[in-house]
């Protein structure tokens, strides 16, 4: 039972253009959604998050949009840079008694071409 899904295993965009990574979830009780970025042979690093009570959060080139009615979130990267090439994981979290437990999607590998 995959509660968090990233249906695109890979995405290729041109440098300077917008990258849009998508994520769907099934559990309406999630409190937070997070995006992590992972380079090969390194652990994931936190990128940006959004509370379930918001519909947008922006941090520099990165914006996350949340559509609760559709149970969908997306990460926009504008403008995309070659250094953004990595695997991006979407994750969802319920606060309270789970100790910060995250449920991850399968990941999307982004390739930004110069």
């Amino acid at each position: 039972d995959q509660q968090v899904k990233q249906n695109s295993p890979s995405l290729s965009v041109q440098e300077g253009r917008i990258s849009i990574l998508n994520c769907d979830y099934t559990n309406s009780m999630f409190d937070y959604f997070l995006w992590y970025k992972k380079y090969p042979a390194e652990g994931p690093t936190f990128l940006i998050s959004i509370s379930s009570i918001k519909d947008k959060n922006e941090d520099g080139r990165f914006t996350v949009f949340l559509n609760k009615s559709a149970k969908h979130l997306s990460l926009h990267i504008v403008p995309s840079q070659p250094g953004d090439s990595a695997v991006y994981f979407c994750a969802a979290q319920r606060l309270g008694n789970q100790g910060g437990k995250l449920i991850f999607g399968q990941g999307t590998e982004l390739s930004v071409k110069p």
Binding site: A41, E42, G43
Partner: protein
């Protein structure tokens, strides 16, 4: 800067061996996690711990056990390694909502 370290970056073991993967964090975090990452499957939670000597099963605990004798250290144990446990293993600790990950251990079981 939060630091989460894992004892080995690469490990090769034989089927049936007992394997210990160690994780240490230096920020006094209470919650620690072990995941495995496999292509197409993302990160799957094996076990987590919210305090010393406390442990909770994650989504795929079969074939694994854990130990948390000290707050800073969380160990993952493969009692009898099998080839389907070949994977990237990632440890994390939590501060507020954010998880901080170690660099990972690439384990190959032959």
């Amino acid at each position: 800067d939060v630091k989460v370290t894992q004892s080995s970056r690469y490990l090769v073991k034989r089927t049936g061996e007992k394997v210990f993967l160690e994780c240490v964090q230096d920020m006094d975090h209470e919650n620690m996690f072990w995941y495995r990452q496999d292509p197409g499957l993302g990160l799957r939670l094996i076990y987590f711990s919210y305090d010393v000597k406390m442990k909770e099963k994650g989504d795929i605990p079969e074939g694994y056990s854990v130990s948390r004798e000290k707050k800073e250290r969380f160990s993952l144990i493969l009692e009898s390694a099998s080839t389907n446990q070949t994977s990237m293993y990632l440890c994390a600790s939590t501060w507020h909502n954010e998880q901080f990950f170690g660099p990972g251990t690439r384990l190959t079981v032959l």
